[in-house]
């Protein structure tokens, strides 16, 4: 296949295209979901194909196929060129790519235990014991345990001589207990909601989650939520746990720093960004203690890789430094428009999609102390965690998140449990109110395997390093 794709690159070069690249991708995904001890889903999905991207006359074309025969490769290359020529019929702007060194390399992430070699019975046993643990509370009507494993083999070649092979293996899982009583329904999950936590890692990561060991507590908290008081609506101090803060970073920082979005290429669908070019380097995004990086080299991060889908090496970039907005996620096309070079963030969802600027591991760097220290230092407020609902405007300013659980804080201590907590704010006002971030010992990279973007829709696997943090003057609840 590699030779076929290289021949296609040679043929396109001879036709005088500005640039072309080709990717062959083979993915295997295993999804196991057990509910109340019965199998909800057990599936293995395999997909293989290739895509060719052509820049001709300053305009893009892309075509892809699951047919990997020699004739199909030649045909798809021709289609991509014809599509590029069609793109050039409208408008007079020309795409110019930054200069990059050709790369020849092989990359594999570190894996101690191949998840596809672990016996199915062993995985199902973990899920069954998790369901059993959650179901000890009779009010738990639905005990759901799931795990996913991914293998992604990628081959990348381009007309500049790059030749990169990557194998990335990812695993993870989670549990959720839904308790019901008298028409009330509450769900509690571990270690994070919406199927759990994921990492670029072997099955050792899934084992480390110890899903069965957390099942009973998860079920018990779901029941406690049924009887908890409703979270009051008020302006207060909010301490956000790591898993919810990961989604906060994702929605209010990760998406608005995508430079393609800033230039309007997502305007009609996902929206634009309040972080316009004039704000780079001077805009106060957060308080002095807020430092955020994009780091595709973080070990185990779900947004870690060797090279992006333009063949640019994974790297670390300052996004917010001491509260000041300092950097974007960029591609070879977008970076030169602001006088910079790509920082390696272009990724595609499989062989049939073009790469887009995507989050890598967008992480809030740790501060000092523990969550317990921050709570002890808080006279009056609310501690909130585990996402339940999310919504943000198209420029990423007005956000609202609902969470599974909260606790009242009074005089430095956690008090009563509260249900149905919701908080809302305006992104920079919110991050400017951050006055405490817990330290390294509380810091973890949360893996989110479901970040959506683009048309046709693409799903990316991204990571967010966070430790719990405190925010002042936050609107909690929905105004009546």
């Amino acid at each position: 296949m590699k030779e076929l794709l290289k021949e296609a690159m040679d043929a396109l070069r001879k036709k005088g295209v500005d640039y072309a690249d080709a990717r062959r991708v083979r993915t295997t995904t295993e999804l196991l979901v057990m509910k109340n001890g019965e199998m909800e889903t057990g599936s293995v999905t395999e997909s293989e194909g290739f895509g060719i991207r052509v820049l001709d006359g300053g305009a893009w074309g892309f075509s892809s196929s699951s047919d990997t025969s020699p004739s199909a490769v030649a045909e798809v290359a021709e289609q991509a060129l014809a599509i590029a020529k069609a793109s050039g019929r409208v408008g007079d702007s020309r795409v110019i790519l930054d200069g990059q060194e050709a790369v020849v390399d092989v990359y594999e992430n570190e894996v101690q235990e191949d998840p596809f070699s672990v016996p199915l019975t062993e995985k199902l046993n973990i899920l069954a014991r998790s369901c059993e643990g959650m179901s000890k509370a009779p009010e738990v009507r639905f005990a759901t345990a799931s795990m996913m494993s991914f293998r992604n083999d990628k081959l990348f070649v381009n007309t500049e001589g790059s030749d990169i092979e990557q194998t990335i293996i990812e695993t993870g899982g989670g549990i959720a207990a839904t308790a019901m009583e008298g028409g009330e329904r509450q769900t509690r999950s571990y270690p994070a909601s919406f199927r759990g936590d994921y990492a670029t890692s072997g099955f050792e990561f899934t084992r480390s989650l110890d899903l069965p060991g957390h099942a009973e507590k998860t079920g018990r908290e779901a029941v406690e939520l049924l009887r908890a008081d409703e979270c009051p609506s008020r302006n207060t101090t909010l301490i956000i746990g790591g898993t919810q803060l990961a989604l906060q970073v994702h929605e209010s920082c990760g998406h608005p720093i995508e430079l393609d979005r800033v230039f309007g290429t997502e305007a009609s669908y996902a929206g634009t960004s309040f972080l316009s070019i004039d704000k780079l380097g001077g805009f106060r995004y957060g308080s002095d203690i807020v430092n955020i990086v994009a780091d595709a080299t973080s070990p185990g991060g779900l947004g870690s890789f060797g090279y992006d889908d333009e063949g640019v090496p994974a790297q670390r970039t300052d996004i917010v430094r001491e509260g000041i907005f300092s950097g974007y996620l960029m591609s070879r096309e977008t970076a030169p428009r602001i006088g910079l070079r790509s920082n390696g963030t272009m990724r595609a969802d499989g062989w049939s999609r073009i790469p887009l600027v995507r989050m890598t591991n967008i992480s809030l760097l740790p501060g000092q102390g523990t969550l317990a220290d921050i709570i002890a230092d808080t006279e009056d407020g609310i501690f909130i965690d585990s996402n339940k609902s999310w919504s943000i405007d198209q420029q990423r300013l007005n956000f609202q998140f609902g969470c599974e659980i909260a606790w009242e804080i009074k005089n430095g201590r956690l008090g009563r449990m509260l249900k149905n907590p919701v908080y809302t704010g305006i992104t920079p006002e919110f991050w400017r109110s951050c006055d405490a971030i817990a330290g390294e010992e509380e810091w973890h990279i949360w893996g989110i395997p479901s970040c959506g973007k683009g048309e046709p829709g693409q799903t990316a696997h991204v990571g967010h390093g966070t430790s719990p943090a405190r925010f002042r003057g936050v609107e909690v609840g929905v105004k009546k």
């Binding site: 057990g42 997909s47 075509s63 599509i83 069954a128 839904t178 007005n398 609902g402």
Partner: protein, 450 residues
């Protein structure tokens, strides 16, 4: 693309090689092309040709699923073997009633040669025409023009065999000026000939031009006119959280324990009809069961959800033909959803508003706050206007709503005769056809800066 006969023969022959007690094969062969444009320049232009086979097998009541995107007998046999290994190791699915034996589905006219043969040059020319209309209005356009063709077949060892060819075409146009003021419009159809690029662009441009100099209004309760796309976006979330039998059985839906009760206003009737070509029909589901027309809400009364074979067996009823793809096992759902039109004209709705808002569309709705109350949040976008004394008087900055959709749709006072067809935001063939509605006292709780 593979012919109907070849695809059906491949599935039929493959079933003979399955090692499982029961086997279902879904063949999904698609070619999709999409031209994306921003600020009147094409920035993305793509084509995908793919063929997927999804194998669901049963060994007793133990199930396994595997898929391949190789259309060869060997690859399909391998997928069936993988699924069978998965099934043999898995615990039982107690509710599994066996694979359905279904009669042939009704033929639907869902294929357009014009859509199937549309070229990249033709799409580029359409974008060029949209750009010209926008330029004449002093703005630029962004958006997407997508055309797709699909050949789908289902066969199982119970003797079910279905096949269907379809096309769909989708154009969205987002007009914006230098200050980021925007307006948008979209259309979705089987036949590209039914999509009027210039007309859609003119609507988007007019909305954009009318949206300049927006004023901030306070959050609070307003009478609102929701245009068809806005209602369609709400229906998509209601479909996800409430309209399927699994959500009802698991206590997630607002219809749980409330079937037969009045949950919305008299003017609201919601149904799914997989054979109605007003939308983009799909005449059978991923289990091969023909789709029945299902009325979910009738004049405000909850009539019941849509079913697949598993949820139907649990409730002792027949499947309505709304099963989802086995690899996801998300439970049944609607794919060709309709909100019935009323007898009002758009001007009648405006005239009935003393002070309120006209909403073109929503952004980032989320319906998971409290699914039993259908409590939703979301933002307005791309054309939000103040109505005073029956007339649109000015543009307003966008607002966030938090409201129960049961409360909101109980307060519907007028529904237009005219309906719009929208594609599903979450992809896949299928549509939502909805009118404009006038809702009294819709609850907005926040504002934003633009």
């Amino acid at each position: 693309m593979i012919t109907k006969d070849a695809l059906q023969a491949l599935l039929r022959e493959s079933l003979k090689n399955s090692p499982a007690d029961e086997t279902e094969l879904v063949g999904y062969v698609n070619s999709t092309s999409l031209t994306r444009f921003a600020k009147s320049v094409i920035h993305q232009n793509v084509r995908e040709d793919n063929s997927s086979i999804f194998a669901r097998v049963a060994v007793g009541k133990r199930l396994g699923v595997a898929s391949t995107n190789r259309l060869t007998p060997d690859a399909i046999r391998s997928a069936m073997e993988t699924a069978t290994s998965m099934a043999k190791e898995s615990p039982e699915q107690g509710d599994f009633p066996g694979l359905p034996k279904a009669e042939p589905a009704a033929e639907v006219a869902a294929f357009s040669n014009a859509t199937a043969s549309m070229t990249p040059d033709e799409r580029a020319d359409a974008v060029g025409r949209a750009a010209a209309v926008a330029a004449a209005g002093g703005v630029s356009v962004s958006g997407a023009y997508r055309v797709g063709k699909l050949s789908m077949a289902v066969a199982n060892t119970s003797g079910t065999e279905q096949h269907y060819d379809a096309t769909d075409a989708y154009l969205s146009v987002f007009a914006s000026d230098e200050d980021g003021i925007s307006g948008s419009a979209a259309d979705y159809a089987i036949d590209v000939g039914d999509i009027d690029t210039e007309a859609i662009t003119r609507i988007a441009v007019e909305k954009c031009r009318a949206a300049v100099d927006p004023v901030a209004v306070d959050a609070g309760n307003y009478d609102v006119i929701l245009e068809p796309r806005a209602t369609g976006e709400i229906m998509e979330w209601l479909n996800f959280t409430a309209f399927g039998a699994k959500q009802v059985q698991e206590g997630m839906s607002f219809m749980t324990d409330r079937i037969g009760e009045k949950v919305m206003g008299d003017l609201i009737t919601i149904y799914d009809d997989g054979t109605d070509t007003t939308g983009v029909p799909i005449p059978f589901d991923f289990e091969g069961v023909p789709k029945r027309k299902v009325t979910i809400i009738e004049n405000g009364v909850a009539r019941g959800p849509v079913y697949d074979s598993v949820t139907a067996a649990k409730d002792g009823v027949e499947s309505t033909g709304h099963g989802s793809l086995s690899v996801f096992r998300g439970g049944p759902g609607c794919s060709n959803l309709f909100v019935e039109g009323g007898d009002a004209e758009s001007d009648d709705l405006l005239a009935a508003v003393k002070r309120g808002l006209l909403i073109t569309r929503f952004h980032y709705i989320n319906g998971l706050l409290d699914t039993k109350k259908a409590l939703f949040t979301g933002m307005t976008r791309d054309g939000t206007f103040l109505i005073e004394d029956g007339k649109i008087t000015k543009a307003v900055k966008n607002l966030r709503f938090n409201d129960s959709m049961l409360r909101a749709y109980s307060n519907v006072e007028a529904v237009t005769k005219k309906r719009g067809v929208a594609g599903r935001n979450w992809g896949g063939i299928g549509s939502i056809t909805a009118p404009s509605v006038l809702i009294r006292d819709f609850k907005f709780t926040g504002t934003t800066e633009f």
